[in-house]
């Protein structure tokens, strides 16, 4: 990296973005301010290239209690119950450190659901690697699987489903998407909002260290050999603390006074605080000296951008802080009042009495420019379409073909993977991994909830629109197979660089296909995540939208499981 570049460029901002920042501020930003912008305006946090396209997704329906825009989506289950669910990716961290990358993915998605006021009840995961005959790919696979198990098992949340596919397209950039499903009573649902000038802002959970600084920016670049050198200190997940944080925050919900909660994910305190203030239309003042730290000598921007795990930001009614702090202490956790809600719409960061940053909340949270780059159909598609299937010879031995198919790592049993995940804890798993969708019973009712995660990058490579629609339809069929009716989806859009017209075309097409299928099936999109820049040495991965679907079964006793049951039963093929 050349030192002659201006800081904004080093931090990954474009010149037009830098100029807009100066305009929004009415002056040149200080280093602290610029660093906060660089994170908040990164693709990962700002959805600069995806927002306009995502608006095409259907997000409404009578069952939807919360659509996109919060920590997670929510659908109504009846009987006063609500289902909270969301998906998140940790592709780049997992490519660097598979165990911790995957573990922290699980931790993050769990906290998103917990921040909604819900109890997590299930986890799912969608994974992509290169061909497993390569030692590096096996290392990634086993590390990721162990990491997912490490976090989920320890938290006591069953991992009930998922999918794993191998293709050379993912050799340099594996995919790790993690989904969490939670349950709450309708009135328990929380929002990630800061409101009421004078109310307090607390950070709870772990102490803040220098880990993961710049993670959001890191996720917004392509991977290369050079990624090794400039990556941030890898974040290490602590599921033990994650579990304590979950218990403590639920205890806090019970005593009341909570205005809003958000997980500290990408962008750390900055992102959590600014987004909460933005949703509430308020300002906020934070004193970095009040943030409990793990390391000495941290600069204000390091504190504000650290991505240390197992932390959440809580907006609390003034006067409730002593009680809150007592609860977290009881669980052996940190809890500190770090700031206050203001009414001036400004995000003000102080170090003691000294103001180190003053930025309009709206500019930081929402001010990033939106891009609609060129989209162009990739050339490879023309070649592929020209392919004449008739030129393939008829196989001589279909038995041999069948054996070859069954031996493919993409068809073989996934038991090696899911046997490393606790899928029974919580006594809710009526149908676990190994079949179609998983089915969980809903305590206190006859109902069940079906959950499934599906995607097919290969189909999307061949036809992103159809491929994405097929993924939605496949998830729906799986949900139906256990006796449930599909309700809604969340999704993770894993693509290459949106600045490449071919990739952007795939992205737009896939979103259109997903929207079409969701409209046809009556399953609105309640949220999701976009992961761009999944490339290695300039080669994008297959376009890979991952669909996480939830459905409701009216009677969990009457579920269906795969597998032929008795000799003499009739076999029927449904559909064309």
């Amino acid at each position: 990296m050349s030192t002659s570049l201006p800081l904004w460029a080093v931090l990954g901002l474009r010149q037009e973005e830098y100029l807009k920042i100066c305009e929004d501020l009415g002056s040149e930003p200080s280093e602290t301010v610029l660093r906060m912008y660089a994170v908040m305006w990164s693709e990962h946090c700002a959805y600069k290239h995806s927002k306009p396209v995502l608006r095409r997704l259907p997000t409404k329906g009578p069952q939807v209690l919360q659509g996109p825009g919060e920590n997670a989506g929510v659908v109504d289950l009846g009987d006063g119950l609500a289902l909270v669910f969301k998906i998140e990716s940790h592709n780049h961290p997992s490519a660097i450190e598979p165990f911790q990358g995957a573990a922290t993915a699980v931790g993050g998605i769990l906290r998103d659901v917990i921040a909604m006021g819900a109890r997590p009840v299930a986890l799912l995961d969608s994974l992509r690697f290169g061909w497993p005959d390569d030692a590096r790919q096996r290392y990634l696979l086993s590390g990721v699987v162990a990491g997912i198990g490490h976090y989920g098992n320890s938290m006591g949340i069953p991992t009930v489903g998922g999918e794993v596919y191998f293709d050379p397209a993912y050799s340099g950039n594996c995919l790790v998407n993690s989904m969490c499903v939670g349950l709450a009573r309708r009135e328990e649902i929380q929002r990630a909002i800061a409101q009421g000038p004078g109310n307090l802002i607390l950070v709870v959970g772990a102490r803040t260290g220098r880990d993961g600084i710049g993670g959001a920016a890191f996720a917004s670049q392509e991977l290369s050999e050079a990624s090794e050198a400039d990556r941030p200190a890898v974040q290490v997940g602590d599921p033990f603390m994650g579990k304590l944080l979950m218990e403590a925050i639920h205890e806090l919900y019970k005593v009341g006074g909570v205005v809003g909660v958000q997980d500290c994910g990408a962008g750390g305190l900055t992102s959590a605080c600014v987004e909460m203030a933005n949703r509430g239309g308020v300002g906020m003042e934070i004193d970095v000296l009040q943030v409990p730290r793990r390391e000495e000598g941290m600069l204000p921007w390091e504190v504000m951008l650290s991505e240390s795990q197992e932390r959440m930001v809580v907006c609390l009614e003034r006067g409730r802080e002593a009680e809150a702090i007592r609860i977290f202490r009881k669980w052996g956790l940190e809890a500190a009042v770090i700031g206050v809600v203001t009414d001036d719409g400004v995000f003000r960061v102080k170090e003691g009495a000294r103001v180190v940053a003053e930025v309009p909340v709206r500019s930081l949270a929402d001010g990033a420019p939106e891009y609609m780059p060129d989209a162009r159909e990739p050339d490879y598609l023309r070649l592929l379409r020209a392919f004449d299937f008739a030129c393939l010879p008829e196989p001589e031995d279909y038995g041999d073909v069948l054996r070859k198919l069954l031996a493919s790592p993409n068809i073989a049993s996934r038991q090696w993977v899911y046997s490393q995940y606790d899928h029974h804890v919580r006594l809710g798993t009526v149908v676990g991994p190994g079949g179609d969708a998983a089915l969980l019973r809903l305590p206190g009712t006859k109902k069940g909830v079906a959950v499934k995660i599906d995607g097919n990058g290969r189909y999307c490579y061949l036809n992103p629109r159809r491929g994405a629609a097929i993924a939605v339809a496949e998830a729906a069929r799986n949900v139906v197979c256990v006796g449930a009716k599909p309700q809604a989806i969340t999704n993770n859009l894993n693509f290459g660089s949106p600045e490449k017209p071919e990739v952007y075309w795939q992205f737009v097409e896939a979103v259109e296909g997903m929207a079409e299928a969701c409209r046809a099936l009556g399953t609105p999109v309640t949220g999701g995540n976009v992961s761009f820049y999944n490339e290695f040495e300039g080669r994008p991965i297959y376009p890979t939208p991952t669909i996480g679907m939830v459905g409701v079964s009216p009677d969990v006793e009457r579920h269906v499981q795969p597998g032929f049951k008795r000799p003499g039963d009739v076999i029927v093929l449904l559909g064309q």
């Binding site: 162990a146 599921p239 033990f240 579990k243 995940y421 029974h424 969990v556």
Partner: protein
Amino acid sequence: MAKFGILVFPGTNCEIDVLRVLRYLLHQDAELVWHTEQDLERYDAVILPGGFSYGDYLRAGAIARWAPVIEAVYDIAEKGRLVLGICNGFQILTEAGLLPGALQRNRHLRYVCGWTHVRVERIDTPFTSAYREGQVLRIPISHGEGNFYADPDTLAEIEKWGQVVLRYANPDGQLTETANPNGSLHHIAGIMNKAGNVMGLMPHPERACEAILGSEDGCGIFASMIHYLTRGRVFHVD
């Protein structure tokens, strides 16, 4: 009705499952007990449920074994009350020296969750009287450190005193290599102390108490305890 205390350490995660089985399926008086409690006098039986106490850091069960409540567990164990350790609870009991041996990392080094079969080695115990001799139970396991180890002398002693209560077996009750999910010596899945009132097992009986969850075979463990406690049956090993 018997009164059960279910111990909760930071990181325990199966306490609610055990509570649900005892309270709602078996209609017992059961409650959760925080690890700082120093008196367990009021309970007829104490259960140490599964989970990851203290994150399983250092060694599974190593840190929980020093929790204040463990002193009280020694007390009531001494007095002949029933103590049952499930999974992490078993690990804690061995770390505390209430049961012999240790639970090492699984032989294949992976965490393993799934259905196993275990053979009931004796039915003249407060934990297994509801079963038939040699009955094979279908019960799930879920652990990374369940590989039972004891040095040869200790192992011989465990066998001599008939302390092995459950062994991993195939569905026909045979001790085949593939039926052993973690490399445990002598296929040990569950043992008791010499007095017969403290038992630990790696499988999760609370996960096998309802047909809709796949098996009811685990229920007998709790039913046996209740039977023992409410009928006041006297019990001796040897």
